[in-house]
């Protein structure tokens, strides 16, 4: 009877999936939802490919999933991947439908599953991943994720002993995931000239030793909780990376990696520190899977990182850039503020950060903006900050409390009107800092800014 129920669920969901594909709705999760409704233990029962890799973490999981999927395809594997961002149980079921035949026989060699941090515990025990990559863990939406310690505990509930964990040694939170039974492989980046000696963000989720609660010492702080720590009172310290980047050569586009007492040069496909971590996690996973250095270099060569979250165009000597940040996420927003604050020349900043989803109920919870480091953008070379959206009054107050002169701040209710307030004279760069779901509109806004520059010219 169980068999009949399962095959009925599989067949029905596969038919449903085919219909969705024919009608151009490949990314619809409803076939996955149907499979789980007809057979609640679907994730456990469906045949998984020989290798299942799960990718999770607060930031970077989509990029890493993309990179590893592209690499494994280049290395000759048939890969199933939930590349449409559906990272909960339903999306995973939908993806696994793709990786089996109607007879529940595997059609793919490898399945790459981006999984949501909070719901991973409802997925991992059933799909039994061979490898779990955790990019990092930091503060995210308070509504959903509460705080990093809570997410850490929830994730740990779902980690099975047979999964090998690929962990970021420079994140003193997520690197301690798993138990002694798990194989653990750590990646990290050696001290950089841009590192800080102590925490410089207003919030710090790794301030005290988790064992004896003494204030931690820092070998370096890269950003937020990405740091190397040591407790002055007990034996708690950051873990040693098995895969360590010792040098980043931006000019030669190479990273130098130490592993197994040898140094090897790998392609640097993106020079932002976040993406170097992402690339490193992929290298570590591929190497742990048994691929040779030559295989990995081949796989990464000519690979690109999806640029939907950043774009840049120069017109009349003004560089116009869009840069996405994650709504309700103070760490992501502080990182973007830090990035812009370190840029040279005269800058204007357009901020459109209202969270579309949180605003649906009529008013957005904005506590997170008080965890974000808007103080970073209190700089002389940032000449004007134009805030668009219904929460503009809250952002204005936040910027004033960050010490930013009210004369620099312009507020408008409509995000798409922000471009009207830019000055095109004596400006080197305009940044459009936007919420991640504002990507399409941010490009339209960028076009409006560019048109205004072209119309008015730049006398600089």
């Amino acid at each position: 009877m169980e068999n009949i129920k399962f095959y009925f669920a599989l067949l029905s969901s596969k038919i449903c999936l085919s219909l969705f594909k024919i009608t151009g709705n490949r990314q619809d999760d409803r076939p996955g939802s149907l499979a789980l409704r007809l057979y609640p233990n679907f994730l456990e029962r469906v045949t998984k490919p020989k290798t299942v890799i799960c990718v999770t973490g607060t930031n970077g999981k989509t990029t890493v999933s993309n990179l590893i999927s592209t690499s494994l395809i280049k290395l000759g594997n048939k890969v199933a991947y939930n590349d449409w961002g559906a990272n909960t149980k339903i999306g995973v079921a939908r993806c696994l439908l793709d990786s089996v035949s109607i007879f529940n026989r595997p059609k793919k060699d490898i399945c790459i599953l981006e999984t949501d941090e909070l719901t991973s515990k409802d997925i991992w025990p059933y799909i039994k991943p061979n490898y779990i990559i955790v990019t990092n863990l930091s503060r995210d939406s308070m509504h959903r994720n509460a705080h990093p310690q809570y997410i850490f505990n929830e994730m740990n509930k779902g980690i099975i002993p047979s999964s090998a964990l690929i962990l970021n040694a420079d994140d003193p939170i997520s690197s301690f995931l798993g138990t002694n039974q798990n194989k653990k492989v750590y990646f990290g980046i050696d001290k950089l000239s841009t590192d800080h000696k102590k925490p410089y963000n207003s919030i710090n989720d790794m301030a005290i030793c988790p064992k004896c609660y003494t204030k931690l010492n820092y070998e370096f702080v890269r950003y937020n909780n990405i740091s190397r720590v040591k407790c002055p009172n007990c034996d708690f310290e950051s873990l040693k990376p098995d895969y360590l980047i010792t040098k980043i050569d931006n000019e030669a586009k190479k990273i130098y990696l130490n592993h197994d007492k040898k140094e090897i040069a790998m392609p640097l496909i993106n020079d932002s520190i976040f993406n170097i971590y992402n690339i490193l996690s992929v290298i570590t996973c591929l190497s742990t899977m048994g691929y040779t250095d030559e295989n990995i270099i081949y796989a990464l060569k000519n690979t690109e990182i999806v640029k939907s979250r950043y774009s840049s165009t120069t017109v009349n000597n003004i560089t116009v850039s869009t840069i996405a940040t994650k709504g309700l996420n103070a760490v992501a927003t502080s990182t973007v503020c830090d990035y812009i604050a370190n840029e040279k020349g005269n800058i204007e900043l357009i901020m459109v950060l209202d969270d579309t989803f949180d605003n649906i109920d009529g008013s957005e919870a904005i506590a997170w903006i008080y965890d974000s480091d808007f103080e970073f953008i209190n700089k002389d070379n940032i000449k004007k900050i134009i805030i668009g959206g219904v929460r503009n009054r809250d952002y204005r107050l936040r910027l004033l409390l960050a010490g930013i002169d009210d004369k620099k701040i312009v507020c408008t209710q409509n995000e798409m009107d922000t471009y009207k307030y830019i000055d095109t004279k004596n400006i080197d760069a305009i940044y459009i800092m936007h919420e991640v779901y504002f990507i399409k509109k941010s490009q339209q806004l960028k076009d409006l800014v560019i048109n205004k520059i072209l119309k008015e010219g730049n006398d600089k």
Binding site: S141, M142, H143, R144, A146, H147, Q149, Y150, S202, I203, N204, A207, I208, Y213, T214, K215, D361, G362, S363, A365, I366, A367, W368, I369, Y370, D371, R393, D394, R396, L397, L400, L401, D406
Partner: protein, 245 residues
């Protein structure tokens, strides 16, 4: 005159850490003492003349550390509150001053004894996060904020600790008509915001309690943001119920 911010290294969640920054900007004439977990709090010694103590949200694990850190000074804390000094506890910090926290987690059912200075008890359920908007009234002031918590609190022994009367949203517990705890000048609330930044009239009330001029920094901008949000919360279409659960 002094104010004391307790345990910034752990009481730093959900925007609450900014209260330290805000109070510093607002109370420029006050000396600000920042006390860490391993230090003895200054306010427990009356000679230190601490006029206001602030304690914010923390993780559940860190909340127990705070209880342990404050437990040796329970009598002095009680005296501090009974003498009419100001103590503000936001988020789950309010729970620390009650009798206990009962944990109804799947894996672990246990009771965490708290300072037992005030008569209320908290129930925690980590598999249920309550998120909602809030609108209420205190002394003719409209109070607003958000809730994001794993806990509910019930007042025991028929004590009247009424702080904010619920107009829309949820109080200390789903059955309570009141949000927060007020006893003399102890103000505890689950409301996040940060509470003092989002409620300029309450901040003015606090300034008066401290015998300060009730003028806010960036008052015009504070009131502008507050009034707009108030308008949204008065809108019948605005949903106050729990979301993201």
């Amino acid at each position: 005159m002094k104010i004391e911010i307790l345990y910034k290294e752990v009481c730093n969640l959900y925007g609450d850490l900014f209260h330290a920054n805000y109070l510093k900007q607002q109370l420029k004439n006050f000396e600000v003492i920042e006390t860490s977990l391993l230090d003895k709090p200054a306010f427990i010694n009356p000679e230190n003349n601490v006029k206001l103590v602030y304690l914010g949200s923390s993780s559940e694990e860190h909340q127990e550390l705070i209880i342990n850190a404050l437990m040796p000074y329970k009598t002095e804390i009680k005296d501090y509150i009974n003498n009419g000094n100001i103590l503000i506890a936001t988020g789950n910090a309010l729970e620390i001053f009650g009798k206990q926290i009962s944990c109804n987690e799947e894996e672990e059912s246990r009771v965490i004894p708290c300072l037992n200075i005030l008569s209320y008890e908290t129930t925690r359920n980590l598999s249920h996060r309550h998120n909602s908007l809030f609108l209420g009234k205190f002394n003719d002031m409209e109070i607003l904020g958000y809730k994001s918590q794993f806990t509910y609190t019930e007042i025991t022994n028929n004590k009247d600790y009424s702080f904010i009367e619920v107009e829309k949203g949820v109080g200390l517990s789903p059955t309570s008509k009141n949000e927060g705890i007020k006893y003399k000048n102890f103000y505890g609330t689950y409301l996040l915001g940060p509470f003092l930044v989002l409620n300029p009239y309450f901040m003015k009330y606090l300034l008066k309690l401290l015998n300060e001029k009730d003028e806010l920094i960036y008052e015009e901008a504070s009131l502008d943001a507050y009034n707009y949000r108030l308008k949204e919360l008065h809108d019948p279409k605005t949903v106050f119920g729990s979301k993201h659960e």
